[in-house]
Amino acid sequence: MTSRIRSLTRLKAIREAGLGYLWILPALAVFGVFVFFPLLKAIWLGFFETPPFPNLPAHFVGLSQYASTLSSEIFLHSLWRTVLFVIFTVPIGIVLGIALATLAHQRLAGIRVFRTIFSSTVATSTAVASVIFFTLLDPQVGLFSYWLGQRGGTGILANPTLALPAVSVVTIWQNIGFTFILMSAALQSVPDDLLEAARIDGASNWFRFRTVTLPLLSPTVFFASIVGIIGSFQAFGQIDLLTQGGPNNHTLVLIYYIYQAAYTDSNYGLAAVLSIALFAILLVLTLAQFWFFERRVFYVGT
């Protein structure tokens, strides 16, 4: 009797589970075709060495292409340039975002104008931002070149020392609107009475910012850093438009290296290996950040 009931219950559970899978089938199909299949295909492509001339058959080399690519000097160089690019763009972007948001949080007449200005870069495309800065950095007519004493010659973007910082500045500028909006929203959510309590408790503005505001912004800072790091790892447009990876590979970040391998050199095997490497790096970074997120970040109201 009881066993019969149990088997009936089990049958019902199976039927419900089956129905559940049926419902997620469309989403699964889309993911399968556009995400999982390309991923597996890319891993598979990495096992084949692309021949030096087109129309020759690619031959299977197994893991050796992964090993040789990931230990190659150009890959390590590119990875290092990418890490530098992230270091240049993310922390400065977040600090500037917080600074602008704090300024715009003051209750002053006409502050809305500044809020609009500060957030306006959100509405600017990478291409437009790049063209603006390309002009500003132009060795003949660029205002920045003039200010920085780099008039004439080949220009800042062709300078091995200044090219990556210059591309970073464009990236920071382009992302600042988004970071500003994020930080403004976070500042709005800091309860006024906490800040007032701190004022009455004798805190100076800086002490209050450091001990009350900043800790309460930490979830947002964290979110901005994840989005920023991933964004910088994937930054392509400004590099393609400004430096094309140059000069002398000084702005050859991973994503641009992949692009060159695939579309300039038609080396699909190499491009696949690099893509998988980039994927793995971002996966590890994201997981590490989530792990940190869980234990370090403070949420209001928990």
Binding site: P191, D193, L194, E196, A197, A198, R199, I200, D201, G202, A203, S204, F207, R208, T211, V212, P215, L216, F298, V300, G301, T302
Partner: protein
Amino acid sequence: MAGAVLSSDVDRSPAAVSLEGVSKWYDNVPAVQDFTIDAEAGEFLVLLGPSGCGKTTVLRLIAGLEIPSQGVIRIGGQVVNDVDPRNRDIAMVFQSYALYPHMTVRRNIEFPLRSRGHPAPARSRMVEEVARSLQLDKLLDRKPAQLSGGQRQRVALARAIVRRPLAFLMDEPLSNLDAQLRIEMRAELVELHAKLDTTIIYVTHDQVEATTMGNRIAVIDQSRLQQVGTPREVYEHPANAFVAGFVGNPPMNIIRGHLEGEGDAMNARFQDGYLQLPPVLAAAARRENLGEVLIGIRPQDLQIVEQGTIHATVSLVEVVGSESRLVCRFAGGQFITVDTDRDPAHMRNGDVIDLAVGRPRREQQGVSQEELRSLPEVPPEALHLFDVASGRRLDP
């Protein structure tokens, strides 16, 4: 000597807080108008009023969180209009407690000391001392989220007490607690006030809190100060109809009546009966040449009688311990509350009863119940008359 900077080592005497002609407008909306009041040093002054009356704004003006549009604010005799909140040396307990959620209880209590640059060893000694006195010593390493409402309240108090401010400002600090805890904390705050010998300015909308805790009550309505006095003064001699209706539980019945009659014999007539005014009140009304008055009668000053001049229909019988409360309705629809020690068992919803004004004189020997219930005259102290237009009290 390093020890001299420690506030606990300094014998702080409480400071008086005074407001003189203080007003605050937001754009063209007045929040506080022409406010003049003195909280004496060591006084427990309660600002009482309905929500939106401006009482919290008064507190925020004293704290320096708002700048007055007009008037002078003094703390300890010094004008503080231009002094930053952090230099006013006052402490504030917020309705929300405003505990720093990312800090432990210890860090929270320590915050005012840390922000003023007290050295660490002295800080921890002071924190522990205060924590012990408020029974928080076992909770010092918890975060606010791990505390109950009552414990959070204590942490907020500890944070205020720890640096011995010139005065305490409290903004409805008990309103987020459950009823039982609120009663306990009321007693604790009064004890704390006595122990610390300090000035407390306390904002509440709860008139029971106000009358039980305050040395004096300042009743506020519509951004203006209505009356300042001891709880007894405010209860027994409300300055106007608003104060009369706001202070006292249940609220005073206020009935509008036409005056009629000649000489000392004057009646106030309303739809469901009339009241004979005591001669002193009749004279006052005549002096003011009034045709209509607002008559205030506390529920405990109404008695159920066999034959009375006021008629009402019972709509609700509440038994409150040994006493009972009748909520009745006049034919016009107005509610009137009667507190009585008579057994309400035989009263039913819909019964028509007669009422008379008078106080039970249980303590008096040799007076029969019948005599009590047919009080010949209306005792003047049981009736409060107010001007219909201004709401101002008419005194004999």
